[in-house]
């Protein structure tokens, strides 16, 4: 398979995650969309690392490992925030959380 196939799949995943993140009302599902977008980025890194000029370099793989670590931290803090918001408002629907709305 050529590099572009992987990049196309990754672009597709990014778009799906983006569509979910901007159009779902449930905060948890928005977070899922963000996770999918991050994963699309990781797929890009691995594909470029494999098809790049010098595939014996480990930079791409190591970057993805760090990216996974950051994504895990982000998911943990994001879900904790969602739980705190739920405790405060008794809902996680993003259109109901509008205290700051003018």
């Amino acid at each position: 398979m050529a590099l572009q196939h992987y990049l196309l799949v990754s672009a597709m995943l990014f778009s799906i995650g983006f569509a979910g993140a901007v159009s779902r009302r449930n905060a948890v599902l928005v977070l899922i969309g963000v996770e999918l977008m991050l994963n699309a980025g990781n797929l890009n890194f691995i594909a470029f690392a494999r098809y790049g000029r010098n595939p014996e370099a480990l930079t791409g793989v190591i970057f993805v490992i760090f990216s996974i670590a950051i994504a895990a931290a982000e998911a943990a803090v994001g879900l904790a925030l969602i739980i705190a918001v739920y405790r405060h408002y008794q809902t996680i629907r993003l259109d109901r959380i509008d205290s700051l709305k003018g």
């Binding site: 398979m1 050529a2 590099l3 572009q4 196939h5 992987y6 990049l7 196309l8 799949v9 672009a11 597709m12 995943l13 990014f14 778009s15 799906i16 995650g17 983006f18 569509a19 979910g20 901007v22 159009s23 779902r24 449930n26 948890v28 599902l29 899922i32 969309g33 996770e35 999918l36 994963n39 990781n42 797929l43 691995i46 690392a49 494999r50 098809y51 480990l58 793989v61 190591i62 993805v64 490992i65 760090f66 996974i68 670590a69 950051i70 994504a71 895990a72 931290a73 998911a75 943990a76 803090v77 879900l79 904790a80 925030l81 969602i82 739980i83 705190a84 739920y86 996680i92 629907r93």
Partner: protein
């Protein structure tokens, strides 16, 4: 090889789409697990075994379980999204994003590069690079970040103490 790629691609994209279109959030997370599995299969296909297994361990083992916990802890009795209408605005913008990315790919010069046959990175090489190479400081910083995230998540999600009456 081609068949494996197409199966994995269709699997991943369909389950990712399903993960964001079901009504019940629990079904969404189950489909998300399938999408993560497809991504891990991609990493294995691309010769990044360690990343593939890390994907399974971290995303399916930790992130998906965390999301399930969050859904169960925030379950509301209010009616599910009443009479869902299709979010045309979001879908249109996402379609435009995909079109732009696909057009950029179509006209890029790196087009249709073929893989060079190279030895796949072994776990030993990755470990040597991370703990003896130039990434030692980054590993330490990542560890610090994860610790801070752990403590921060615990503090944020902690039950508010009821105020004592004087």
């Amino acid at each position: 090889m081609d068949l494996v790629f197409w199966i994995t691609a269709v699997w991943t994209i369909v389950s990712a789409g399903a993960a964001l279109s079901f009504r019940n959030p629990v079904h969404c997370v189950l489909c998300l697990v399938l999408a993560f599995l497809g991504l891990a299969a991609f990493y294995l296909e691309l010769g990044a075994e360690f990343v593939g297994f890390a994907q399974i361990l971290v995303y399916i083992g930790a992130v998906a379980i965390l999301v399930v916990f969050a859904i169960l802890l925030t379950r509301t009795s209010e009616v599910q999204e009443e009479q869902r209408q299709i979010p045309w605005a979001g879908l249109t913008v996402a379609g435009l994003v995909f079109t732009a990315l696909a057009a950029a790919l179509r006209f890029s010069t790196l087009a249709w590069a073929r893989p060079v046959s190279a030895p796949r990175p072994t776990v030993k090489q990755i470990g040597m690079e991370m703990f003896q190479g130039p990434y030692v400081l980054a590993v330490e910083v990542a560890g610090l970040l994860l610790t801070a995230a752990l403590i921060g998540a615990a503090v944020i999600a902690l039950q508010d103490q009821p105020k004592r009456q004087p």
